[in-house]
Amino acid sequence: MRELSGWGRAPRARCRLRSARSEADVAAAIAEGPMIARGNGRSYGDPAMSPGLTLDMRGMDRMLAFDADRGVLVAEAGVLLADIIATFLPRGWFPYVTPGTKFVTLGGAIAADVHGKNHHGDGSFRAFVDWVDVMDGAGGARRIAAGDPDFQTVCGAMGLSGVILRAALRLRPVTSAWIVQETIPTESVEAAIDAFEDNLDVLYSVAWIDCLSFAPALGRSIVMLGRHAEAQDLPRKLRRAPFEVPGRLPLSVPLDVPRLALNPVTLRIFNAMYYRLGRRKAGESLVDWDRYFYPLDAIGDWNRIYGRGGFYQFQCVLPIEASKAGLNRMLHEISEAGLGSFLSVLKRFGPDESRISFPQAGYTLALDFPATDACRALIERLDAITLDHGGRFYLAKDARMSAETAAAADPRLGAFRDLRAARGWSERFVSLQSRRLGL
């Protein structure tokens, strides 16, 4: 038994934990009883913790083949995105889709069907997966190609349809390790949305929102656009070694920060400073891949800033037509409560149809709050606003939603529950989250 939690460190539970190093280990674990696979523990809540057996997949971290003509990597599920980048960026390849941390496993990225700053143009992680090998308990592994209808019962299913063993991932050819970033400060969330809509042809876009400012500056934002730098974008000094970037100082949060340190005043100051800094950077700049995609990865264990009690992430997506109204109501609610989030991120999703994955056309807002009763009450009000505006929630972030809220937001969950029962997955693949949400 080992105390486990997600990246948000709430909830915690003592779980039976074992490591898989081979397909045979996975088969043995599935045969034993209810279980769930766990990657690098970067989902925020309880989807990678099982009331039965939690199977740590990081021991299956072998890269098996790379097709340098097509840029297709075949690897076991426990390989980290960080390792894929370390191996292939020097050869001119980068993941097509990456979440905000490189410390996720390939299997985890598929199970959560993660998205990046380019969802509006490229779609989610699964769009670049050619096939997955899945063990679903009926015995043996099965290769499911992207065109197979069952592919969508794996991507985004949080491991509830079987254990992902291996996958083939297409990588993006790039000519440098640098990103040309354009920073656009805006005075409101409406203006941020307009900036997104004006730049749908730009590869990457994301906005940070100051969720503690009051009207008329409510929702003032820093919109950050980006594209991969080509040789002509680089100063001559960098052109000679376009894949080399300066190292980053290894920083880390060495201990749990007392909860008092993050209070409405310090949060307001932090958010205001962040906005000022962003406004000063307005315009174009050259940023290396690590700082651009993974600013928080530079601070090891940054999740400790919320103290031992941990924190909750909230992430919803609202349909485009409801976005301005819905986001404004949420920001009002947050600002009124004075319970601002440390980092609030807004992102435009493009059209996306799937059986269980999170993304759909619209705007997605991600927030984090200390795991206190007051914040929980606030997040429940945000749940209600999301439902009012026809939005839905990201299971990789969820740690506390009720089954009723989840079902009301996403009718696909009911169909998925029925599918799980019909295929015999309900008894085999069980997480604390699936139990809480009645899946």
């Binding site: 074992r18 490591s19 190093r21 081979s22 021991g59 971290d61 072998r62 890269m63 098996l64 083949a65 790379f66 990597l73 076991e76 390792d83 191996t87």
Partner: protein, 244 residues
């Protein structure tokens, strides 16, 4: 300079991490274990990640009579050989059935010492090479909780020390590695203290660094040097009453 590194007992988590650390520096790898077919994934991994050449070889550490033949069967005598062979057994069984304990001693001492003995002779004849033995802090002092394993590792540590002494000045260097606690299949389920417990990748980096710098005896996490100094210093009449 590109070298060839032989990893004995290549199926373990620690051995895999050591192989990766050497391959990351561009060295070719020979992986040796009882069932080499199970190492196909690891071969693919090293080739895909690092673009080095990898070969697989059948090696049974406890079949002492096969070791000379194994060495002759290698395509080239390696520049560096790492012995990561080992098995802990369970102390209860090792204590209850001394014959079972003897197998643990064979796997952790006789087997590793025999193959390193053959390698030492071949490297001495060539006049160059590095031998790395993965021993254990358990060999520093016998404790009730794992003295059979510890005794075998103590023997292995003494063997490595003597080998180093013998080969000094003959162009062959011997490194003794005392990893301390490591998060591996062998320690799975044990409640290990975080500050004293290394990841396999740390062991890999430490071994490569020790070989490059010509170190003699290394602890993977430096804190273990202090811990073991204290444990060794406790008088026996007190030590025998402790449960460490």
């Amino acid at each position: 300079m590109k070298k060839t590194v032989l990893i004995l007992g290549a199926a373990s988590d620690m051995a895999r991490a050591i192989a990766r650390a050497f391959a990351a520096d561009g060295h070719d790898i020979q992986l040796a274990a009882r069932s080499p077919a199970r190492l196909e994934g690891d071969r693919a991994d090293l080739e895909t990640r690092y673009g080095v050449e990898v070969s697989l070889h059948a090696f049974d550490a406890v079949d002492l009579g096969s070791h000379a033949g194994f060495l002759e069967g290698l395509p080239t005598l390696p520049d560096i050989a790492v012995c990561a062979v080992g098995a802990m057994g369970t102390q209860e069984e090792n204590a209850a059935w001394p014959e079972v304990g003897a197998q643990v001693m064979r796997a952790n001492f006789e087997g590793p010492a025999t193959i390193l003995g053959h390698l030492a002779n071949a490297m001495e004849a060539r006049g160059s090479g590095t031998l790395v033995g993965i021993s254990s802090v358990a060999g520093e002092r016998g404790r009730a909780s794992n003295y059979v394993y510890g005794a075998a590792k103590a023997g292995f540590t003494a063997f490595l020390s003597g080998l180093r002494n013998r080969l000094a000045g003959k162009g062959v260097h011997v490194v003794t590695v005392l990893p301390g606690f490591v998060n591996t299949a062998m320690t799975e389920g044990m409640d290990l203290p975080g500050a004293l417990t290394a990841e396999p990748s740390e062991v890999g980096k430490a071994v490569v660094a020790a070989v490059e710098k010509g170190r003699d005896v290394i602890y993977v996490r430096p804190v273990w040097r202090i811990v073991m100094t204290v444990i060794r210093a406790i008088p026996e009449r007190i030590f025998k009453k402790t449960s460490l």
